[in-house]
Symmetry: C2
Subunit: 177 residues, 2 copies
C-alpha cells in the first residue's frame, strides 16, 4: 500500500518567512521517494503546494501531521481528499482543541474565520489510539472508516506511536530546518 506522509519543518517565530513542507512516499514500509517544497509561515499556500507536490506520485493513502503547518498555514484535508480521491488521515500527538485554535486565530489573523472554518468543518472529536497510559495519538479520517483507519495507523506505528511515514517525514523536515 503506497502511503504518503506529510510534515513541516521548524522555523523561528517572527524571523523566518518560510519553512519546508516534506512529503515522503512509502511503499512496503520503505521510502520510495521524497519531495520538498517551501510554504509561507502563517500563509495560505499549503493546500495548493501539497496538491502540486503529490501530482506525480501514485499512492493509496495520505497521512497529514495535523491541519496547520508552518504556524497557521492550513492544509484542508477535505480538499486534498476530493482532489486525489484517496483517504486522507490527519494524525496528531496533541488532543485537538478547537476552542484554543479559535482563540489563537482570532488574536492573530484578520481572516481568522476563513482559517477556522477548516477546523470546524473537519470536526471533532478525533479518535484516540492509546499506546500506554502516557502515550496516545489522535486521528480523523476523510474517505475511510474509523475502524479501517485505526487498524492502518496502528500497523504503521511499529517504531513508536507515530505512523512510520510521518515519523520519517518529520525526521527529514526537522533535519532540514
Amino acid at each position: 500500500l503506497p502511503i504518503v506522509g506529510v510534515e513541516d519543518g521548524r522555523f523561528q517565530k517572527g524571523k523566518a518567512a518560510k519553512t519546508v513542507l516534506v512529503a515522503v512516499l512509502f511503499k512496503n514500509l520503505h521510502i520510495e521517494d521524497v519531495k520538498l517544497t517551501s510554504i509561507t509561515v502563517d500563509g495560505l499556500d499549503a493546500t495548493a503546494k501539497l496538491k502540486e507536490m503529490l501530482t506525480e506520485w501514485s499512492f493509496e493513502v495520505i497521512l497529514l501531521a495535523g491541519i496547520s503547518f508552518a504556524g497557521f498555514n492550513i492544509i484542508d484535508p477535505i480538499l486534498i481528499h476530493e482532489k486525489f480521491q484517496k483517504p486522507v488521515i490527519v494524525v496528531t500527538r496533541k488532543k485537538p482543541d478547537n476552542n484554543a485554535v479559535r482563540k489563537a486565530l482570532k488574536k492573530h489573523f484578520n481572516d481568522w474565520k476563513m482559517r477556522f472554518e477548516v477546523f470546524e468543518k473537519t470536526g471533532l472529536p478525533y479518535k484516540k489510539i492509546t499506546f500506554t497510559s502516557k502515550s496516545a495519538i489522535y486521528f480523523k479520517a476523510f474517505g475511510a472508516s474509523d475502524q479501517w483507519t485505526f487498524n492502518l495507523v496502528r500497523a504503521l506505528s511499529f517504531l513508536g506511536i507515530v505512523p512510520e511515514p510521518l515519523r520519517v517525514a518529520r525526521l527529514i523536515a526537522r533535519g532540514l530546518s
Copy 2:
C-alpha cells in the same frame, strides 16, 4: 549496527554556488535521524562539513557515495576514518577511473594536485560486487577488511544494488535539490 549514509544533491552547473550534503543515520534498517548541510560546488569544504555533521551521532560505519561531491568538492575518506575511528566505505555505481579524474581536475582547477592526491592515496582498484550481468557496484573500505565490507554492503543492498542508507540519503538529497 548504526550506519551513516552520505550523499549530495543535484545542482545546475555554472548556476548554483551551493548544494546540499545529506547524512542519514540508519539503525536496524530504519531511519533514525537525518542531517543536512550545504557545501560549495567545486569547493573545498565537504570534508570539514561532514565531520561537523557527524559529531553528535553514534554510529559504527560510514558509507560515502563516492569521493567527490558537489562537483569536485572532495571528502577524504581517510581523514573521516581517522577522525571517527570507524570504518569508512566508499561506494560508487560507476567504475572509478583516476585517469579521467586527473584530466578533468587538470583542466578546471589550479589546485588540481591537492584534489587529485585524495584520489591517488585512496587508491585503485575498487572491489566489485556484481548483481546481474548488467549491474554492479564498486567499493573501497578504510578501516575494515574487504570481506567484511563485501558482506555488509551486500546485506544492505536489499532493495536494489545500492546499500539502503545511501539509497535513502540520495532520495532525500535529490528531493531537496
